[in-house]
Structures are given as C-alpha cells and as structure tokens.
C-alpha cells in the first residue's frame, strides 16, 4: 500500500483502464453472443466483432496517449505501456484476420476461440504495463493459460493436443520455478513493487548481492521461457509445429511482444544499471544468452523441412537479436527493441498469413510443396518473399532497419562482439530463408493450378507486406515516435 501517491478518482481510474475494460467487455460479449445462437452455421460475423473489439481498445489506447500515471499501484499508464498495447492489439488483429477461414473449417467452437484471443490481448496489455511482481505473475500466467488452450484448440488433432500438453507442462514447471524465485525476491527485499525493490537493492547491495542472484536466475528462466530464448526454448519448436497455424502465428509474436516489454521494464526499473551486479553479471549473462539464442536458432533452422518448424527456429533466433537491444539498456537500445518488435511482428505475421493461405488450399506445410508458388499465386509468393527477406535483414525492408538499430545500440554499449555475432547470424539465416525462396521462385513446379486467397487473409497479407516495405523504406516517423516512447525509462 502506498498512500503517498495522488489518489485518482474512480472515473479517472476507469478511464486509464479503458483499453483493458473494452477488451474484457468485448470478450464477454463474444462469449454471450456465441452462446445465444448455438447452432447457427458458419458464424462468419465472429471475426468482425472481434476486430471491432480490438479496434475499440486501440482507440481507447490512442486517447490515453499523453498519460503518464500509475493505476491502482500495480499498473503503469506510460507511453511505453501504451506503445506495447498498440503493437499487441494490432498483432492480435492480424491474427484474427488470418484465423478466419482456418478456424471456421476446422473447429466447431469458434466463439471461444476469438474470446480467448481477446483475453490473450488483455493479458498482453496487462503484462506490458505491470509494475508489481504480483501483477506480473498474474498477467504472465494469464497469458500462458490462454496460450495453452489456444495451442490445444484442435482437440481432435493429435499434433495439436500433443503440442498443448508439452507447452503446458514446460510452462507450468517454469512458471512454478519463476514463482519460487519471486517468493525469495519478496522475502529478501520485503516488497513486490519494482521501484521499491530497486530502492532496497540500492541500499543493501553488498549484503544482498550473493543472495539475490539465484532467485534472479529463476525469474529470468521464466521470462526466457516466455520469449522462447535459448536455452529455455525447447518447448517452442514442438508447440509451434503442432499448434493450429494461426495460433502459431500468435505464439510467435504475442508472447514475445509482451515478454520483451516485461523484460525491459523489470531490467530498467528494478535493476538499474548503476548497480554493480546488474551492469556486470546480469549484462554478461543476458549477452551470452542473446548470442546463444541467435546461433542455436539459426543453425538448427538450417535443417528443417517443415515451414512452421523452420519459422519456429527462426523466431527463436529473432528473440536473440531482440535481446541484443535489451542488453544495451540505453535509450537507443530500447528504441531498437521497440522498432524490432514492430518490424518482427509485421514480418512474421505476413509470413504466417502466407503459410496459412497456402495450407488452407493445399493442406501442406512442407517446404518442398512450395515449389512454383510464384506461378500459382504471385502475390502470396511476393509477400512471403518480402517477409523472409525482411527476417533475414535485407535492405530496404523493416527487418534491416531494425537490425541496424540493434547492432548500433550494441556498439554504443561497447558490445562489439555481440554485434559481430548478430551480423554473422543474419548472414547464416539467409541460407534457410533462401531455401524457401528458391522453392517458390526457382524450383520446377508439378502443378500450375492457381491458388486463391480468402479476403480476410488478403487483407492481412496486404497490411503486412505494405507495412514491412513502408517501415523499411521510410522509418523516420516511426523511429522518432519510438525514440520518444523509449524516454519513458530515462527521464526523471
């Protein structure tokens, strides 16, 4: 309890919570509407209601833009949190677009699916704004639980249930480990508030330093699990491969956005760099994990034949790049992380939209089956091409600008070796992205049959493709904006 802060009125509080409240109402509304008409065929309106809910939440977020306040002592309503909310909401919106046909043709329970997506978005919004360990762990497990259910959503599909049970067991154990670490943290510092923890750590650094590290590592393991960073990444390829593809798209983007927001906030608020153990030990370990994550992800991706699995390893590697920015822990590092998150979300969702469009028509995820896609669906192939090249960091696409920023942030922080590892890795990654591109554009094709794309998927493909190109060729305004957002942690 902290009575020193200015008290907000109920109306003010509700206003600051409006994005979350809108999502909550939207989720409940969808469940209700879905329940009212149980046997209606198709339920084609569901995705649009979902999108409307997400859009309202986005509008609510936008109206809050200038805020910088604490809400009910556990959340922060600052530009960083709002930016994360926007990215999360937009990413979830694209996931809704790509889910439409896929879920309609494969599951009977559509209402719950979209409601769960909305609740996931809610959990991500909360996670990105939490400033209290209790709130962090609740939002963390909230997001985990919706993710487990979504992964196992095709309950009659062997792969889907298997992916879900593995993801669940790995997640349950890791979250128990994280909680155990948090309980020690509470015991050692006597607080659950990040800012207060920082104050306590500053006062008692010498006595606490040897004690705080094991709990810290337990917590870090939980965070690393959330963003699928090596060496706590092993659940990811299995879960990504088995999950329904739109859910894979969501898993590869959503938890990473929220997870990195969480990692940044905890790192920058609770463990400020002026603490010796943070700037020495903590940074070294994070940097090592970043290098390990990139390298493992990329090298193993070289061997994959299934495109979902390939992208799973690719997204592990991408988490490694993002960690570079976290390690830098500077305004430029935070800007770079935010930029890369936006670029990565658009790029990866574009790639998954293409994969879903392909598998909706052909039922296959094998890279070999992408042969001749250029002839069968030129636009689809083009978006996938742009996405893969952007993931590989080829200019002038979004991924390139993001990488350049990350690497220069690392250099600014004196981590030249990490930047070198990053650059080498991005070259290695071209080899496996290239494998897909070659199949689409060069490999001989068995069939010339045209592939059509549903309207919702086409919209998703368009948004992603244009977004990636736009950010890559004209990143100025976005970067300026994110640069301001990054100041959240560095002023005052």
């Amino acid at each position: 309890m902290n009575p020193a802060e200015p008290t907000l009125t109920l109306a003010q509080t509700l206003w600051l919570l409006s994005p979350e409240l809108v999502l909550l109402v939207a989720g409940m509304l969808i469940l209700g509407l879905d329940g009212l008409r149980p046997r209606q065929e198709g339920k084609r309106w569901l995705p649009y209601v979902t999108l409307a809910g997400l859009a309202s939440a986005l509008v609510a977020t936008l109206t809050l833009w200038d805020c910088n306040a604490r809400v009910l002592f556990v959340l922060s309503c600052d530009p960083f949190a709002l930016a994360i909310k926007m990215v999360a909401l937009m990413a979830t919106g694209i996931v809704v677009l790509v889910s439409d046909v896929y879920i309609r043709t494969r599951s009977r329970y559509q209402g719950e699916f979209y409601a769960l997506l909305i609740f996931s978005a809610l959990a991500m919004c909360l996670l990105g704004a939490s400033t209290n360990i209790v709130m962090i762990f609740l939002a963390f497990d909230f997001l985990s639980i919706t993710s487990y259910i979504l992964t196992g959503y095709l309950r009659d599909d062997r792969r889907s249930t298997e992916a879900a049970i593995k993801y669940f067991l790995y997640g349950a154990v890791l979250s128990a480990v994280m909680l155990y670490g948090m309980s020690w943290f509470y015991g050692l510092t006597g607080s659950t508030d990040l800012a207060e923890i920082a104050a306590v750590l500053r006062e008692t650094e010498h006595t606490l330093r040897p004690l705080i590290l094991p709990p810290l590592i337990l917590m870090a393991a939980g965070f690393a699990f959330k963003v699928a960073a090596a060496p706590f990444h092993q659940w990811a390829p299995d879960a990504y491969e088995g999950a329904p593809t739109p859910v894979t798209a969501f898993l590869s983007v959503g938890p990473k956005i929220a997870g990195f927001a969480l990692i940044l906030r905890v790192t920058l608020i609770a463990f400020p760099m002026d603490l010796a153990f943070v700037s020495l030990d903590w940074r070294t370990v994070l940097a090592t994990l970043a290098a390990l994550t990139m390298t493992i992800g990329n090298l193993v991706a070289l061997w994959q034949q299934n495109i979902k699995r390939l992208l799973a390893y690719s997204s592990i590697a991408q988490a490694g790049y993002i960690l570079i920015g976290v390690v830098s822990a500077s305004p430029r590092g935070v800007t770079a992380v935010l930029l890369y998150l936006v670029a990565y979300a658009l790029t990866n969702l574009g790639a998954f939209a293409a994969i879903i469009a392909f598998s909706n028509r052909t039922g296959s995820d094998a890279i070999d089956d992408y042969a001749g896609l250029n002839r069968r669906a030129p636009v689809l192939a083009l978006v996938l091409l742009i996405s893969l090249l952007s993931l590989g960091g080829i200019p002038p696409l979004a991924g390139f600008v993001g990488k350049l920023y990350l690497f220069s942030a690392a250099m600014e922080a004196g981590l030249l070796w990490l930047a070198v590892v990053g650059v080498i890795n991005s070259v290695i990654s071209l080899a496996y992205y290239w494998k897909v591109i070659r199949a689409m554009y060069i490999a001989p094709t068995q069939t010339e049959e045209r592939l059509t794309t549903s309207p919702t998927l086409a919209v998703a493909l368009g948004i992603a493709g244009i977004g990636v190109l736009a950010i890559g060729t004209f990143p100025g305004p976005l970067l300026a904006l994110l640069g301001m957002v990054a100041q959240t942690f560095f002023t005052g």
């Binding site: 706590f232 193993v300 070289l302 350049l404 942030a409 250099m411 030249l416 070198v420 300026a480």
Partner: protein, 746 residues
C-alpha cells in the same frame, strides 16, 4: 530550384522501367526492351545535364558539393536526417560514365539476348541493377549507399545465375552472393560502428572536419587503433568483397557464367568498381590519420591483387576468364592508387577502365556469339569435328584462331580495347590513367610502383596473347572457320565504346607531359581533385593530398620510361610468342611448354588452377561451417529410434563432439597440410581428388544438401530435441543450475 534537385530522377527512371516490365509488359519482348532502354536513356540525358551543370556552373562545380534534402528519413538522436541528393565532382564523373556504359550495353543486349526465353526478365533485372548503381551514386548518405549496394548485389546474383538450369551458373551466382556477403558483413559493421559513434551517416556529417578529427582521436575500445582506422578498415572490407580484391576475389571469375553483357556491365565496368568508389567517397576517413595503418592495408592489398591476378590471367584459356582476372588486376591498380593517396588517379583509372573493359567484354561476347553460330553452322552442314567434339566450349581460345578475317569490326575494336588495357602510349585512355598512377606511385611508394609496373608488363603480355590466339593464324576448329560477324546492334556499341577508349584519356593529360602536355588542360584532375577541399579535410590529410598533387606538377621521366618499357615490352613479347608464328590446332600453350622445360611446370599448374584458392576455401571455410552446423544441430536435432534418455544423449554427444574434433584435427593434418604441400607443387594431383571428394560446395552444404547433411548429422548425433517434454525440462534445470554456478563463480 536547381536542375540538380532533380537528380533523384536518375535512378528513378530505370526503377520505373523495372516495375513496368516486371508487372505489366513482361509478355511483350519488344515493348519490354524499349521501356528499359528508354528508361536508361532518360537517365543518361538527365545525368549528362547534371554532369555538365556540375562541371560548368559554380554550384557543385568543385567549390561546394551540392546537397538537397528531400524527405525526412531516419531520426538521428532527436532530429531527423534526410534522404537527399549529393552531387560532387566524384559523383558527377560517375554519372557521366555509368548511364553511358549502361545504355551501350543495354542496346548490345538486344542482339545478344535475342531469342532467350527469359528475355524480358533479363531486361527487368538489368534495369533494377542500373537503379542500384545510380542510386548508390547520387544519394547523400552511407545508409542509402548500402541499401543500393545490396540491391546491386542481389541483381548481380540473379544475373550470374540467369541461366539457372546450368548447375555451374546457379552455383556461381550463389558463390558470388555469399562471398560478397562476407565483405558486406564488414561494411555493415562499419556502418553500425560509425553510426553509433557519430550518430549520423550523412556524408556532410561524417566527413566534416570536426567528425574526422573526433574519429581520429577516439581510441577504439581501449585498443591503440583509432576509431577512424577501424571504421575505415571495416568499410574497406566491403570494398574487398565487392571489388573482388584478394582474398575475396574468388567469386568474380565464376561470375562469368552470366550472360556476357552482364559480365561487361556488372562484373567489369560498374558494380565491381563500386567498391573503389566507396573508398573514393570515404577517402577523408581513410586519410584522417597521417600514416594510418588503413592506408597501408589498402595499398598492400591492391598491389598484391594487381600482380597476383595478372599472373593467373596468363595461364587461362577461357577468353572471359582472362578478362575476369584482368578486371581483378585493374581493380587492384585502382585500390593501390587510393592506398598511396592518389585518389584522383584512382578515380580516373576507374572511369577509363570502365569504358575499355566494357568494350573488351562486349567484344569477347561478339567472338563467343560468332563461335556458337559457327558451331551450329558447321553442324547443319554435317561437317563434324574430330575428337573432343562433345566438349566444345565457345569461350576457349584454343578453339579459335583466324577470326580477324571473319569478324573485322570485332577485331579492330578489340585491338583498340586491348591496347588501352595494356597502356599503349599516347593514343589510348588506359595509358594516361595508368601512367598517372605509376607516376604518383614512383614518388609516393616505390615498392608499390615496382609491383604495379611488373603487373603492367604482365597485363600487356596476356592481352597480346589473348588477341593473337583469338584472331591471328588459321582457324583451329570448324566453328572458328564458320564464325560470322555479329549484328549491328552489337557492333555499333563496340565502335562507340572504342571511341571513348581512345578519346577519354585526353581529358586527363598531365600538364607537364612532354610536347602535348598543356595543349589540353588537365581537366579531370582539376575537377575531381576538388572533391575533397583541402580546407575541409583535416590538416595532415590535406598535406597528404597536396603532396600527391605536387608529384604530378613537375614531370619525372623515370616512371614514364619504365612504364612504357614494361607495356611495350609485354606487348612485343606476347606478339613474339603467340603472334609471330600463330598457334596450330592441338598445340600446347607456349608458355606452358617453356615453363615445363625449365622444371616450372608445377608453377604453371598452380597458375592455371588459380593458386588453388577455391579448393582451399572449400576445404576450410565451407567444410568448417558445415561441421559447425552439424555440431550445433546436436543440441536440437532428434532422430529417435530406440528409447534413449537424455543421459545417453549427453554421453553420446560428448563422444560425437570429441570424434568431430578429432576428425577436424585429422582433416587439418591431411587436407590443409596437403594443400600447402600441393601449392609447393609436390603432389599436384591429390588435392583435386581430395577436393572432389569434398565437393559438397557452398551450395550443397548450406542450402541444397540439407538432406544429405541431415542424414550425416543423424548418424553423427544423438537427439536432444527428442520430442519428450521431460527431457526438455531436465535440460532447463541443468541450465538454471549452470547459470547459478556461473554467477557464483563470477
């Protein structure tokens, strides 16, 4: 608003043509090539206007670089830095050369690519390439430079592998892509470091005296090197890759798998010189520290590349490979010139070389085209060749001979180009540019001078050999006997380029040259020399440049005489060996015969095999990366058959890694040592067998052969990504504990 404000349209026209062709008109061949040629013609006209405006008007005319800000692009701190046009003399002369050469080569391609099934696609690619080259030249910051540089790289890859049905072409494309990427990697690091340090990549900011001063005095991460040195060396890494300098030269000869116009345009005249242009552009940075190690490195690599590749060129029989090594060697010349501080001379040679090398390539394309037609003609008439017919190679000079009579225009234009390449005195452009480099080298760095002079002699020799083998004597095959002259769309560009190969030198005649010096002002030197204004460069850089300038104010006869002796001597010797009594069919190469007689056969083998660089790279880097990938795969690849726990997995993994390590050391013993031994010529044969057995290649290993490698990996490695979640959890606990231990130890 100045006309220069419109310079951004120069790369835009080819880009518009690229979009139009690839989206709309790709089914219509004629319309496609008209659009593309129209696009480059428009760029040509506009860039001529810009060039003359820059050369004649006060704005941009040497005194001050012209810069226009177009759009806010990247924030730099809290400000936004703009993408704009940047025109200075170095840009202007590039704008004079690039669109002109592009235009000639596009016109030539209409004839050369006639009948190709992917005709429109070819034109779309070359148009995109022109966008990349021109965009790289006109914009005002290094980030745009890098983006267009990468676009060129991609086009180069696509065009080398244009006939991708041919395995060798496909591989060559990929090799070029990967090898130049190694260079780009350094370049990108350089950019990131520069950006981190300066906070901007705009030329105006990074080459300002204050910034250079700052970079020169900031030590790099506590080492004794300054930031300027490290950034310059990293940028130079990009040059080494793009301009095919030793040791990343291996991709360029293979790049000749592409269609000949592509070789002429990208791999001789324009793209490969982009690396040199990068050094010209960033010259203030290179010169920011007096006697900096970076300049020494540049000069050493350039000079070594120049001599090294001209030695290789002597032993090649493929006409395009001779030219490819010649290109590498000439690029080495330019780089060496820059390295000794003679950046005007380097830029001058860049421009003249572009013209005569494009001419030589196009001429060789005309010869090859003729040989192919002659071959078909001979077949239609049932006149079968004798043995070895299956391996007919239209590029092989030993199959040629006597073409002077069959292809007179090609012959005479090629002679002009060849003389320019050898530096034939007074009348050729190559003479003036090479002479300027030699003259300055003589003053500034005698060691470099002697290396370059020797390289000039070798150049003249292999040029004479090439011309004699191709054109003189009697036809050595039926194909050569029936080769027709090429169509006008091919020969007219040859003639135009030949005019430039002669005339262009006159704009750069040193003022103190005997007799004709001063008749025509040394316009080039005045113009380009003002790119870097002494007042804007740091003091010692200005001094270095002033020193270079002094060198040519007074005339020194020794370098001229020595250069002439080497050039004419090389030509004469070449003619004596190959032209006096032309080669007969089936005769052994005369240099080879001579060298074998004096027990130097092993050295000739090494020359012909390009000193085994490809083999050594394949046996080291490629092999190592495949091995590394398979080791890392151990952490995640699963091939579960029996019921093995992670324990077994770990134990086995240790065994595998150990075995892998021992294999590496074995292989180091057997392959590398063998390789070195072979280089010494003691076991000339075995390495090629070894390399055959290791011929996984970059392609197979990293991209194509994934399947093979997976199988090999599966045999190698026990699974860890087993599919069993409890194994994963166990590893997670291991990792947590490992981190705890690591922390406690720290």
């Amino acid at each position: 608003m100045s006309i220069l404000d419109l310079a951004w349209l120069i790369p835009f026209f080819p880009f518009a043509a690229f979009v139009a062709v690839s989206v709309f008109t790709y089914r219509n061949r004629v319309l496609s090539h008209r659009l593309v040629i129209g696009g480059i013609a428009a760029s040509f006209v506009l860039s001529q206007i810009v060039f003359w405006a820059a050369a004649l008007l006060p704005v941009g005319g040497g005194e001050h670089a012209f810069e226009s800000a177009l759009i806010p692009w990247l924030p730099n701190g809290l400000e936004v830095f703009s993408l704009g046009v940047y025109i200075d003399p170095a840009t202007a002369v590039m704008l004079f050369m690039v669109p002109l050469v592009c235009l000639m080569i596009f016109i030539y391609s209409v004839g050369y690519m006639h009948g190709d099934p992917r005709y429109s696609r070819f034109f779309a690619y070359v148009s995109l390439f022109a966008t990349g080259m021109l965009g790289m030249v006109v914009f005002n910051n290094l980030l745009a430079f890098f983006i267009f540089w990468e676009i060129m790289g991609t086009c180069s890859y696509l065009l080398i592998g244009f006939w991708y049905e041919k395995e060798s072409a496909f591989r060559a494309g990929l090799k070029a892509f990967l090898v130049t990427k190694v260079g780009d990697l350094f370049l990108m690091l350089g950019l990131a470091l520069l950006y981190a340090e300066v906070g901007s990549l705009a030329y105006r900011d990074i080459f300002s005296p204050e910034t250079l001063e700052h970079l020169a005095h900031t030590p790099f991460l506590g080492t004794s090197f300054s930031m300027a040195t490290v950034v310059a060396l990293l940028l130079f890494g990009g040059t080494v890759g793009k301009s095919a300098q030793f040791p990343l030269h291996v991709w360029l000869p293979d790049a000749m798998e592409g269609p000949t116009p592509v070789s002429a345009l990208i791999h001789a005249a324009t793209m490969v010189s982009a690396g040199v242009f990068l050094v010209v552009r960033a010259f203030p940075l290179f010169a920011a520290i007096e006697g900096g190690v970076q300049m020494t490195v540049v000069a050493a690599i350039g000079a070594f590349t120049a001599i090294f590749s001209s030695i290789i060129a002597i032993a090649q029989n493929d006409i395009k490979r001779v030219l490819a090594f010649s290109t590498i060697s000439q690029l080495g010349y330019m780089v060496a010139a820059l390295g000794i501080g003679a950046y005007v001379a380097g830029a001058f040679h860049l421009i003249t070389h572009a013209f005569f090398k494009a001419l030589l390539f196009l001429g060789s394309g005309s010869v090859i085209h003729g040989m192919e037609h002659g071959h078909h003609h001979a077949h239609e008439h049932g006149e079968h060749e004798e043995e070895g017919e299956g391996a007919f190679n239209p590029n092989d000079m030993t199959y040629m001979g006597g073409l002077a009579r069959r292809q007179p225009i090609t012959f005479w234009t090629l002679v002009v180009g060849g003389l320019a390449l050898s530096g034939f005195p007074l009348i050729t452009a190559g003479f003036w540019s090479k002479d300027e480099i030699l003259a300055q080298a003589y003053e500034l760095a005698p060691a470099v001078f002697w290396v370059l002079a020797a390289a000039a002699g070798l150049t003249a020799f292999y040029t004479a050999r090439m011309l004699c083998m191709t054109f003189l004597g009697q036809p050595r095959t039926k194909a050569a006997a029936h080769a027709p002259e090429s169509v006008p769309s091919m020969t007219v560009p040859l003639i135009i380029l030949a005019v430039f190969a002669v005339g262009l030198g006159w704009i750069g005649i040193p003022e103190h040259f005997p007799v004709i010096g001063g008749l025509i002002p040394n316009w080039f030197h005045h113009f380009v020399g003002s790119t870097i204004e002494p007042t804007h460069a740091p003091e010692h850089a200005a001094r270095a440049m002033g020193h270079a300038a002094e060198a040519i104010h007074g005339f020194v006869w020794q370098p001229l005489a020595l250069g002439l002796a080497f050039a004419l001597g090389g030509l004469a010797l070449g003619w004596l060996v190959y032209g006096w009594k032309p080669m007969q069919a089936g005769e052994r190469d005369r240099v080879e015969a001579a060298m074998r007689k004096v027990w130097l056969g092993w050295f000739y083998d090494a020359m012909r095999n390009r000193f085994y660089f490809d083999e050594v790279y394949r046996a080291t880097f490629v092999r190592a990366s495949i091995w590394l990938a398979s080791v890392f795969d151990a952490f995640d690849y699963g091939q579960v058959e029996g019921k093995h726990g992670v324990v077994d997995g770990l134990v086995n993994l240790a065994g595998r890694v150990g075995r892998g390590l021992s294999q590496v050391s074995d292989w180091l013993d057997s392959r590398i040592v063998d390789g070195l031994v072979n280089l010494a010529g003691r076991a000339g044969r075995s390495i090629s067998e070894v390399s055959d057995s290791f011929d996984l290649g970059i392609v197979d290993g990293l991209v194509d052969g994934i399947g093979d490698a997976v199988r090999a990996g599966g045999r190698f490695i026990r699974p860890i990504q087993t599919g069993r979640v409890q194994n994963y959890l166990l590893l997670a606990v291991v990792e947590v504990l490992a981190l705890v231990v690591a922390f406690f130890l720290m």
